[in-house]
Structure formats: C-alpha cells, structure tokens
Symmetry: C2
DNA sequence: AAAAGTATTGAACACTCGTTCAATGTGCAT
DNA sequence: ATGCACATTGAACGAGTGTTCAATACTTTT
C-alpha cells in the first residue's frame, strides 16, 4: 500500500513488493496466486477501513455518532497524503479494471448505507429514502474534500465543507 | 487520451499509442522525445480544456456566465465516463510524479482564479478574498461531483450538488 | 532533374515485468 | 534421528517495455 500510494500502480511490481517486505521474489507468489489477487487484497483492506468510519458506536448518542463520522473525514489520520493518494490510485485502478470496479462499488454502497443508517438514527422522523438522499449528498462533498485535499487547497475551505455536510445531515425535517 | 481513460496509464505504451493512431512505432518517438513528453502534452491539453469552463463570455450577463459555468460541470459532454476517467487517471498520475503534479497544480490554480473572477463579476460588492473563498468551496463540491459520478451515484444527488454550488455562488453578500 | 529536407517505417537493443519451479531451509510430530 | 509439511529462496523463461537508428518514402526547393 505504501508503494501504491507513493508511486502509483506502475510502482507496484512483484519485485518491489518483495523488496519492501524484505523478502524474496518467490515468496510473494507463494502467498498470492496472482498480482491481481494481491491488489484485490489491498483493495479490500482499504475498503474495510473506510467502513469503520460509519460504524455504529452504541456508547454515544446518535447525534454524536453522526457528527463524529462526519468530522473524522477531515481528521488528521485520514487527511494524510498517504491515505488520500492510496484512495485515488485505487479509484483509478477500479476505472481501468472491471474486477476491481465491482469490489469498489460494493464497498461504496455499504459506506452509503452505513452513513444513511447514522442519519436515520439521529433523525428518526425522516423516512429512509430521505436518509439515503442526505447520505448521497454528503458523500459527494466528502469525496470532494478528499480529492481537493490532495490538490493542496487551503484547510479553511475543507473545514467549511465539513460544516456543510453537518448542515445537510442535521437539517430539520420539514413536514 | 482514449487509451488513458479506458485502460489507465499501464495501458498507454508507445506501441499502443502508435497502433491507436494508425502509425508506426518509431513515429511516436519522432514527434515526442520521451514518453513523459507525450503524457505532459496530453495533460496540458486536458487542463486547457478545463480552463475554458470558466472562461469569460462577454455576450452574456455576469450572472448567466457564472450560472452556465456551474451547470456545465454536470453537462452531458463533461459527465461522460471517458472524460471523468481521464481526469481521474491524470490526478493519479500527478500523485505519482512530481513533474505532472506541478502542471496539474498550476492548472488547478488558474481554474480557481477563473471561477473566482466569474463570482466577482456577478457579485461586485463582494471583496476578492470572499470570491476566492466561494470559488474554493464550489470546487470542492465540483470535484466531488466528478468523482461520485464515476462511482455511479444517482443523477439526482448530482443535480442537488450542482444546485448547492449555485447557492454558494449567488449567496447574498452580508454586511 | 537533382538535391535537400522532412516523414515514416520496423528491426534491434537492453531492460523490466509476472510467473514458474527445483532446490533449500525451518519447525515439529513421531 | 527420521520424516513430513510448510516456508523461503533465487534463477530461469517468455512476453512486453522505452528508446535508438539505419533505411526508405514523400515534399519541397533549387
């Protein structure tokens, strides 16, 4: 994943992976049948990590859970070049390969569902379809935040964008 | 560019470019010194195309110019898989290569400036710094729209996001 | 018509890639 | 200690890569 985030997919060769792991070339193919199997494993790992962002946490109130999930997007551990770059390369990879695209799309759907569930818990009077709508709108901005952070935009506009996601999430439900 | 958008950077070889152009391998290296020179040329072309999105059009009122620029982002010609995928691969490329990153960052700055200028024309009473702020906020959402469109989110949320950019752009200036 | 300049070709080179595989090392039950 | 399963190594192979270059075709100038 370090190699992928730093040098892109062209920097990820079986040999460079072996070197990075301090291991002989043959061993990589011993644990991973294919290069695509190896990439798939990395993809799944990142996707699982992303899902944790919207995982329910019963020790908090629904409002706190939702707010935390939204703010974590601009947290120090996520807004690193390494993670963002990794995400970007995985997206690009998914565009070029049907197989990766499916894994990515599935993870994206689960993320959207998780976020919508958080919204639903915080705004129980909002019908499920409305929660999905809000989640979708929020994800657009979140993706924008991730991407724009990579391009080096000032952090102020990122903070404003996060505030905007909260505004969408917590908007009062109209009759 | 077709090759890049369809198969990613690994699908762009001097031979595949030659084949796509219906030309012998040697000719590619005749017109482009390097492979990186060729990629740079493609990058610049896309960036110039992007700049046209926020180019001033004296035949329209400032409000119309700004509104058109914002709506063009979700236009039929831009919201194609080909263009979005191309953008994504170029971003990923810029992440892996310092040289491409600089070209990309410069183009991004010019785009931001162009958008801020449109805002300034439509809201002359807003100080320049405020225009830059609005432009930055809008770009976050626009990037999100582009990225999310690739992941296949429903067009409804994209339309709502575009509306949100207009809302930011045309917000009344408070004293 | 001859010469000069430009365009175009494809073979050749050295190199890296993913994958395979026989050989060797390591840990553990018997 | 012997045997056996698992772990690890690095050399080898064929395919694909970017780049170079002499040879050829086409245009323009003289």
């Amino acid at each position: 994943m370090d190699l992928l985030s730093r040098h892109g997919i062209s920097g990820v060769s079986m040999r460079s992976v072996a070197r990075e792991a301090g291991v002989a070339l043959g061993l990589v193919n011993y644990y991973y049948d294919d290069k695509t199997t190896l990439i798939r494993a990395a993809l799944r790992r990142v996707d699982e990590h992303d899902l944790l962002l919207v995982a329910p946490d019963p020790s908090l109130t629904p409002e706190e859970q939702l707010r935390n999930a939204l703010r974590r997007v601009a947290g120090k551990d996520l807004l690193t070049t390494r993670y963002l770059s990794l995400r970007l390369h995985l997206w690009a990879l998914a565009q070029a390969d049907e197989d990766y695209a499916q894994i990515n799309a599935a993870a994206f759907d689960r993320y959207l569902d998780g976020l919508a569930a958080l919204v639903s818990k915080a705004r129980p009077e909002l019908p499920w379809e409305g929660c999905r709508e809000r989640a979708a709108d929020i994800v657009v901005i979140q993706n924008g935040v991730w991407l724009t952070a990579l391009l080096g935009v000032d952090t102020a506009s990122i903070q404003r964008s996060i505030a905007r996601t909260e505004q969408i999430a917590f908007a009062p439900v109209q009759e």
